[in-house]
């Protein structure tokens, strides 16, 4: 007998997780952004010095002048989406779920660092400072589409074996599957 995973249940759990995580993350975000900035500066990924102010991330030049900034929360929503999806995915054991969450956090952290590095490169090229340059294909790919797409792709990559889009066989209890006849 086949019974599909309840997509409604998955959707409700994921939406609930997004709401819970968003509320919690608004408090964690400044610390997380500091960690991101420290890693970015440590790896010298961006051509500018990265700094945080008021929960947001800024690119500063050699004189400490803020060149341009990025809303900290805008960079973090993908992380919330990924965590919510991993929390809500049916059919994952606790250990595997925690392992996936760890791997997902590392992956999304790497994506965020790559985004900062790419945006820094664009700012240095004089392209990222104006809003008109935000129409460039690399920026659209990385920020406009990538911000939304990467969390879902990382989730699909991690949970490919669970195949949440497919009906899965449900193991029936032996007694129910083959009832004993008197």
């Amino acid at each position: 007998m086949f019974r599909p995973h309840s997509l409604t249940g998955f959707a409700i759990k994921a939406a609930g997780a997004v709401i819970g995580l968003a509320l919690v993350w608004s408090f964690i975000s400044p610390w997380y952004n500091r960690l991101l900035v420290a890693a970015g500066n440590g790896l010298s990924l961006a051509p500018f010095h990265l700094t945080t102010a008021g929960g947001d991330i800024y690119f500063a030049d050699d004189f400490g002048q803020l060149v341009t900034g990025l809303h900290g929360a805008a960079l973090n929503f993908g992380l919330i989406l990924l965590l919510a999806l991993l929390i809500a995915t049916p059919g994952l054991g606790v250990v595997r779920r925690l392992r996936h969450i760890g791997l997902g956090l590392v992956a999304i952290f790497a994506v965020q660092l790559a985004t900062l590095a790419a945006l820094g490169g664009l700012v240095q090229a004089g392209a990222g400072a104006s809003s008109a340059s935000l129409t460039g294909v690399p920026v659209v790919l990385l920020c406009t589409i990538g911000f939304n797409l990467f969390p879902a792709l990382i989730w699909l990559g991690l949970c490919l074996r669970q195949r949440p889009w497919q009906a899965r066989p449900v193991q029936q209890p032996a007694a129910a599957a083959s009832p004993e006849r008197p």
Partner: protein, 177 residues
């Protein structure tokens, strides 16, 4: 050894041919979308979409008894105003949904129905988002940024993903011709 490795890769490619093909189509569709999007932004098409979204948002807010004025992409009340940016429209979630539907194997007819249904659902949900954000901004202003960036942005992408999963499941049930 090399022959063995090549053989293994060949076997893997043959075994996952459909998935690889879908993945390649998806990547191509996303790249094409980025190209088209970047060209269309320059034409001002998305600004008109943002203005239309603002008009629709204002319409529903006025229906709810909030007396708001709409001017271009700006929705304004006495105490609060907000500008609907091009990123605040349903364009990106709909684009991603279309890319995913196009990439997944299935009949063209089912894909068209899926795109139409998913597009309408995502557009409607985005209106719920803009209306609710205006209400949050008006009555609970300190929560606005959290709701705008941390809450609604993941929720709308989650909705696109769920709609795609629903479409995939329904499409998979239809027997092949």
């Amino acid at each position: 050894m090399q022959g063995s490795a090549a053989g293994r890769i060949g076997t893997l490619v043959r075994r996952h041919k459909v998935a690889l093909k879908s993945g390649a189509i998806f990547v191509a569709a996303v790249l094409l979308s980025a190209l088209v999007y970047s060209q269309l932004v320059a034409t001002g098409l998305f600004s008109r979409d943002a203005a239309f979204t603002a008009q629709a948002t204002g319409f529903f807010l006025n229906l709810m008894g909030q007396s708001v004025q709409v001017s271009g992409p700006t929705v304004a009340a006495a105490a609060f105003s907000v500008e609907v940016g091009t990123g605040c429209t349903a364009t990106i979630p709909i684009l991603l949904f279309i890319c995913a539907v196009v990439a997944y194997p299935g009949r063209v007819k089912h894909k068209l129905v899926g795109i139409l249904f998913g597009g309408v659902c995502l557009y409607a949900l985005n209106l719920v988002r803009t209306v609710s954000l205006f209400l949050i901004g008006s009555h609970l202003h300190s929560f606005f940024e959290t709701a705008h960036l941390l809450l609604w942005q993941p929720l709308i992408i989650l909705a696109a993903l769920i709609l795609w999963l629903v479409w995939v499941r329904r499409t998979s049930r239809v027997p092949a011709a």
